[in-house]
Structure formats: C-alpha cells, structure tokens
Symmetry: C2
Subunit: 236 residues, 2 copies
C-alpha cells in the first residue's frame, strides 16, 4: 500500500506526527502538497466535489479509497499496519487515548502564540500570548509532561507500552524536539522533572530509519509558521 | 454490561456528549461522581494508584476492566455497542473523524470564556474573552457549523450517515442546544445558514428515550461552570 499524505507544505506542523510514523516504518508514501500541483489537489479534496466525505482540515491520509483525517485517528489507523501499535483492542484504545492527549497538548502549544485564534497576527495579540504562555509554562506543560512521565513509569519503561516502541513514543520525541525549539530556557527546567520522557526522545532519535529521515531534506526545519515557534519574548 | 461514567458533577460539560449516547440507547450506567463517595473514587482513578493506565482527565468510562477516556474515543467504543454507529471500519472511522472535529469545536467554545487558559478567572481575562469570541462568532462557529451542514447535505440527510441516527447526531443536538444557551443572539443569525444541522437537533429532541431524559433531573441545566456559558457581553 502506497499512502498519500496531505498537509501544508513548508511546515512540520501537525502533519509531522504522521510523517514520523511513516518514515520510521519505512512506508511508501507521497507528501502530496509538496509536489507540483499538490496544493490544488489538497484544496480540491477539502472542497469535496463529488466526494461524500470531505475532511475538515489537513493533515489527512489517503489509503486506497479511505480518506482519514485528524492526526490521532490517522495514527490509530496506521499503527498496526506499520507495526507501531499492537492489534489488541485494549492496547490500541490506550495508545489512542494517549495520542488524543497529545492532540490537546499540541493545541495548547499552538495557542501560546495564537491565544485569540489563528486569524489574528501574532503582533496583534502579543500581550495576550505572553499571559497565555506564562500560565502554559507554569501549569499546563508540566501537567502534560508529568502525566506522560507517570505513564512511562507505570509501563515499566523505556516506552509507553513497555519494551516496544509505538507511534506514541514518536510523538513524545516530536513534543520534546518542538518544545526545545520554542522554549529552550523553560525546557531546560521542565526536563529535569521528566527524565523518562527525555529518554524516550533520545532512544527514538537513535533509530536507524528515523536518523536518516531527520538528516534528510524531507525533514523541514522548525520555523515561525508552524505549531512550535521561537519567540524569545515568550520563553521564560 | 453496566457502564460507569466518571465526570465532574454539577455541569453538563464534555461528559454530556457521552451521557446523551447512554441515555438515548437506554444503556445501564452509573454517573459515578454524582453519587455519595463518587468524587473520591474518580479522583483516585486519576491518580492511578496500582492501575497502570490512569486517564488524564474526565470524562472517562469504565466498561468491565477497560477504562477509556476522551469523549470521542468513548463514543467510538460505545457506538456499535449501543447501536449508535455501524460496525464497518470505514463508517466507524468517518464518524470518529467527525466527532474529533466536534472535540476541536468544543475546545474553541470553551475558550470563548477562557482564552488564556482555564486557570484564569473569567473576570481576569474578560477583554480577551471578548476579542476571542468576536472572532469565534464571525469566523470559527460558521466554519464548523457550515462544515457539518455540508456533511449532512452530502449524506442525503436527515442524519450524518443518511437515514439512521448515530452518536454524531446526538452531538450536533448538544452543540445547537449549548450554542443557543450561550449565544442566543448570534445563533439566531448563524442558524439561518445551517438548516440541516438545526433539523438534526429537532429530530433528536423528539426521540422517545431522549425526551424523557431531557425532562428528567438527570439532565443538568446549563450553567456558568460548564463549556457553554451565557455571558451576555460576549453575545453579538
């Protein structure tokens, strides 16, 4: 099966959580919107045309005739197919539940620079971004990271499900990488309390296929159009 | 199977999307935290204790030995069991994808009164709530509602999957009810463009078991501690 991933070109964004799974598994896929004519195809699919089930927003994945949107759902679908999740229902639901918590966390990370809505320019809600981010770094980020630390502790480590890595571990890698990019100062402090989360990041970074991907041009650099943005005035 | 629902007592909140499905299906369930000693049980489950897979936040559902969190995942799990979703994978994924879009919408609805984070008092971020809500009512609410309208048009109506109601239709009912409570003026205008969404609300409101539930004391009233809050200064 050759997959087609649809996501905004030029940013890692939410699409990156899916990309990491595809790359780590060595799956065959096209990053459609990064190819000529791809953006037009992506926009056409969102408008639906004759398709009865148009997605609301990127990223979405085409797998044969299926079109699946929402990062957590895409990973839920891909997990067993890419051997990045077990097949047992209880385990799949648990991983999905954790990934949905990642979704919530990512939304709050996005809101650090856009607390009033994505329609505003950063410059037009900068004071609000500062207040949001202060609370985020003091309360929310430690709460989410601490929860994942607890999950790793209870799993027996090193991974979320214990001995075998899953797509959730790839997501933890991406969260740490992104937060380090956006909030280098705050993260130095926050990481002290979540050694298991940081250890997952390190292990994942060392995986063969992923290492190759991360040093390839397919891995876009973080930048100030994505989810994780470096605005030094927001970092503590 | 007797289910146990864990959610904050005193508000409809996110738990209500699950409650509606359980009630509509006539399922046997306990609303644990609304019973004596229930809050203590809920908090203990979140702390995990000996349990290896503690949920991050309410609502969560206990079904036998399984503990499932996140509204959309709970509904994904319950759907076929309560005959509120088909069993075919493609249909289940499509419904889940729509429900995850409801999740995103609900988060933005919550943020109309708490744009800087749930940790702030409403009074301490009132000006920000006004700016957020103005954009929400002008851009975001029409976008989400318009998307669901398109989905209903494409399904052939009257329901999201066509002729048979699903848990997603119950969620559309709850969205319309909640938005009418929070933003009565804005909704009068917004509803004009989404007649199919409003028609789903009306059909669902007329279902036998749901009608009984809605007039029972089990259905809490909307109030200013939940997701949908009536602050007249935010309504347009």
């Amino acid at each position: 099966m050759r997959y087609q991933l649809f996501y905004w070109p030029g940013i890692q964004g939410r699409g990156e959580f899916v990309r990491l799974a595809l790359e780590d598994a060595g799956a065959a896929y096209d990053d459609v919107a990064r190819k000529p004519g791809g953006m037009e195809r992506m926009m056409a699919m969102m408008e639906g045309g004759r398709d009865k089930r148009p997605p609301f927003a990127p990223p979405f994945l085409k797998a044969g005739k299926l079109v699946i949107a929402q990062v957590a759902e895409i990973l839920y679908f891909l997990g067993p197919r890419l051997k990045l999740a077990p097949r047992a229902e209880a385990d799949r639901l648990w991983l999905h539940q954790l990934q949905l918590t990642v979704t919530d966390f990512v939304k709050e990370i996005h809101d650090t620079h856009h607390p009033l809505g994505g329609e505003f320019y950063y410059e037009d809600a900068k004071a609000e971004a500062k207040r949001f981010t202060e609370n985020f770094l003091q309360e929310r980020a430690p709460k989410y990271l601490g929860y994942f630390e607890t999950v790793l502790k209870k799993s027996g480590s090193p991974y979320v499900l214990g001995r075998k890595a899953s797509y959730m571990d790839l997501s933890l890698f991406q969260l740490v990488e992104g937060l380090r990019y956006a909030f280098p100062n705050a993260m130095r402090r926050l990481e002290r309390d979540v050694p298991r989360v940081v250890a997952v990041r390190d292990r994942i970074a060392g995986r063969d296929r992923l290492k190759k991907y991360l040093s390839s041009p397919r891995r876009l650099a973080f930048n100030e159009q994505g989810i994780f943005r470096r605005y030094p005035e927001l970092d503590m």
